[in-house]
């Protein structure tokens, strides 16, 4: 496989030898795959228990203990416990080299006396786990299963192109020059650069600034930005054109005063949306909406007659209140903010009039997320504006704890409705997702990739951000980029957090619209050529006839 070269990662020499032998390699990977599949199926069955199905956990080959955390030999069917050292004993006794921790898929080499990482096992683990998840995800609308994921392999033509391509060394990380209090813009741009969906869109030339015919196109500026960042030049970049375009289109953001990063975020999203392909006012499929748009549902229940009025609104991000936390002892966390956000809120008697019973009544309103976006953006409302005058606002300094990975199932409409129907807590609720049809849990998982931080006061503060590149975190302070740690990022005072969905949802077996359009265009082009040719032939004939 062209892309899956592991030349750089240090490899266990014993693994290298074994994987080098075709028969041994196949046997090893086959056994490993079975182990991963067994574990995935078991985890699923545990979440949706049925009386008919009993799990048969393996027993340690040496002490007979039922294994809660089994380690499986990769050469034979032996299993053993780790804490008593029995699996290691098995490896030593039999001369087998490798075993795997069934829960995590990590491989242990007895010769190295350590766990070893290898790309082949890592890829197989992910592929096998995903394949099992696909089998249990049913699409609500079509009742079909998910289309199985197939990793991309270049075909013969593409291979030729790739071999002749020039590889440019680049980090994909560049600082952004502060052009006069523009740190608010820089942090949002860094979050865009770290955004995998935006990055893929622009790097795959879906909006090429040299081909675009629009004037003052912000999408073109984004294309230029990505080209600059993914270039050999690693010196800080000054996004002057982008800034100028922003000033031109949004007068509130112009001038050299400090602005609010969140305001810039929303403004930038709208600007890119209007200048991108597929942009419509309803059900837009432009890159911005495909990436950031979700649906918020509000259910208003009339307390008099019990009817529930459902209303959905599109949203590009979620703004969470921080003030009013009655219990000062409790730490503020993203989860507690989300719980508050989706908690029923009492509406006063004059705030709502029920359609069914026709009178102004007491009602309760509950928000939930109907449709999850691919990139989830959170804003913590730290700035309380007391009046129109911005300088009179107060900043809430309290830190909010947020996780590096987040499961959004409890805050989605369908899951919340299901939980209301089955009001039993139970000793241990089987899963975050109460109904098989709404699962598996993994489709609600999100991973943090960027955090915007604000230090100081409202009008005299500074924005910095943390962004993740694969598994490493970096701190961006305008033009200064430094290697940081997950801990440093999570301990910072966050203003905005960006999470990306781990598994994207696709309609199964559908040709992407841009390919359909491309084919239609190709057919039209051929038609046009034929007509031109026919017209030319006609001209020649006419000339000949005239000459005769």
């Amino acid at each position: 496989m062209l892309f899956e070269q592991d030349g750089d990662s240090p490899r266990c020499p014993h693994l290298a030898t074994t994987l080098g032998n075709d028969t041994e390699r196949r046997a090893l990977l086959y056994r490993y795959r079975n182990i991963v599949e067994w574990h995935a199926r078991k985890s699923y069955n545990v979440s949706y228990p049925s009386k008919r199905r009993k799990i048969t956990p393996p027993e340690c080959g040496i002490c007979g203990q039922t294994l809660s955390r089994p380690y499986a030999c990769l050469h034979c069917s032996a299993a053993g416990c780790w804490t008593e050292g029995h699996i290691k004993q098995h490896l030593q006794d039999t001369g087998h080299d490798f075993c795997a921790d069934v829960n995590s898929g990590y491989v242990f080499c007895i010769e190295c006396d350590d766990f070893v990482f290898d790309g082949a096992f890592d890829r197989l683990y992910k592929a096998a786990t995903l394949a099992e998840e696909e089998k249990v995800t049913i699409f609500e609308v079509t009742k079909r299963l998910r289309e199985p994921f197939v990793p991309w392999e270049p075909n013969a033509q593409e291979r030729v192109v790739l071999q002749s391509a020039i590889t440019a060394p680049c980090q994909g990380r560049r600082g952004l020059l502060n052009l006069g209090q523009t740190c608010f813009m820089n942090v949002i741009l860094q979050s865009f650069i770290a955004n995998p969906l935006l990055r893929n869109y622009y790097l795959s030339d879906k909006h090429h600034h040299k081909l675009c015919k629009l004037n003052h196109c912000t999408s073109c500026e984004m294309d230029r930005l990505f080209a600059e960042v993914y270039s050999e030049n690693s010196a800080p970049y000054g996004a002057t054109d982008l800034l100028a375009k922003t000033w031109r289109t949004s007068s509130e953001l112009s001038g050299y005063a400090q602005q609010d990063a969140h305001e810039f975020f929303i403004t930038a999203l709208n600007q890119i949306h209007t200048t991108s392909r597929g942009s419509t006012s309803l059900q837009c499929i432009c890159i911005i909406h495909s990436t950031f748009a979700g649906l918020l549902q509000s259910d208003v229940e009339c307390e008099r007659c019990g009817t529930v009025a459902e209303k959905t609104d599109p949203m590009l991000d979620i703004s969470l209140e921080l003030k009013g936390e009655s219990n000062r002892e409790q730490e503020l966390t993203l989860a507690s903010c989300l719980r508050r956000y989706t908690h029923p809120e009492k509406l006063g008697p004059n705030e709502y009039s029920c359609e069914k019973c026709g009178k102004a009544s007491h009602a309760s309103k509950r928000l939930s997320i109907r449709k999850l976006p691919n990139v989830l953006s959170f804003q913590f409302k730290r700035f309380e504006h007391k009046s129109v005058d911005k300088s009179a606002a107060r900043k809430i300094e309290a830190p909010v704890r947020f996780p590096s990975s987040l499961n959004m199932a409890p805050y989605t409409t369908l899951v919340m409705h299901k939980q209301e129907l089955s009001k039993d807590g139970g000793a241990a609720p089987p899963s975050l997702v109460p109904d098989k049809a709404l699962g598996p849990e993994a489709i609600y998982d999100y991973d943090l990739f960027a955090v915007v931080c604000h230090e100081g006061q409202i009008d005299n503060g500074h924005y910095t951000c943390y962004a993740r590149s694969h598994d490493e975190w970096y701190r961006y302070d305008d033009d200064k980029v430094t290697h940081a740690t997950l801990g440093a990022c999570l301990n910072s005072q966050a203003y905005m957090c960006f999470y990306v969905k781990r598994h994207l949802d696709y309609k199964p077996y559908v040709t992407p619209s841009y390919i359909v359009l491309r084919e239609q265009e190709a057919v039209k082009e051929k038609e046009r050529e034929r007509e031109k040719e026919a017209a030319r032939m006609k001209e020649v004939e006419d000339e000949l006839l005239a000459a005769i």
Binding site: V46, S47, P57, T66, S68, D113, D114, T333, P403, G487
Partner: protein, 103 residues
């Protein structure tokens, strides 16, 4: 593994109880719940960071094996489980056992 009480009845019950919990999935469900609680309290991220940085700083001097890392961090990990989470999980386990054993 937690220390098992030395009195006869408890230690005799432990193995079959454990087996039953593993067979009907209770063990894994409680384990998953514990993982969720620990993630929400920031414990998982804290130890993900600590172990990664510990391994990184040991690279220069030959590196640290996973077992050495676990040995080094386990006491901290056990000690830093928030008491609220600990109490909650003990409660969950007690409730489950009450249904299965006659005391």
């Amino acid at each position: 593994m937690p220390a098992v009480a030395k009195d006869g009845r408890a230690s005799a019950l432990y193995a079959p109880l454990r087996r039953r919990m593993l067979e009907n999935g209770d063990w894994d469900r409680i384990s998953a719940r514990l993982a969720r609680e620990l993630n929400e309290s920031g414990w998982i991220d804290r130890f993900k960071d600590r172990s990664k940085e510990m391994a990184r700083s040991a690279e220069a001097s030959g590196g640290l094996s996973v077992e050495a890392l676990i040995a080094e961090l386990s006491p901290q990990a056990e000690g830093e489980v928030p008491s609220a989470v600990r109490q909650e999980m003990i409660g969950v386990i007690c409730k489950l056992l009450e249904r299965q054993i006659e005391f």
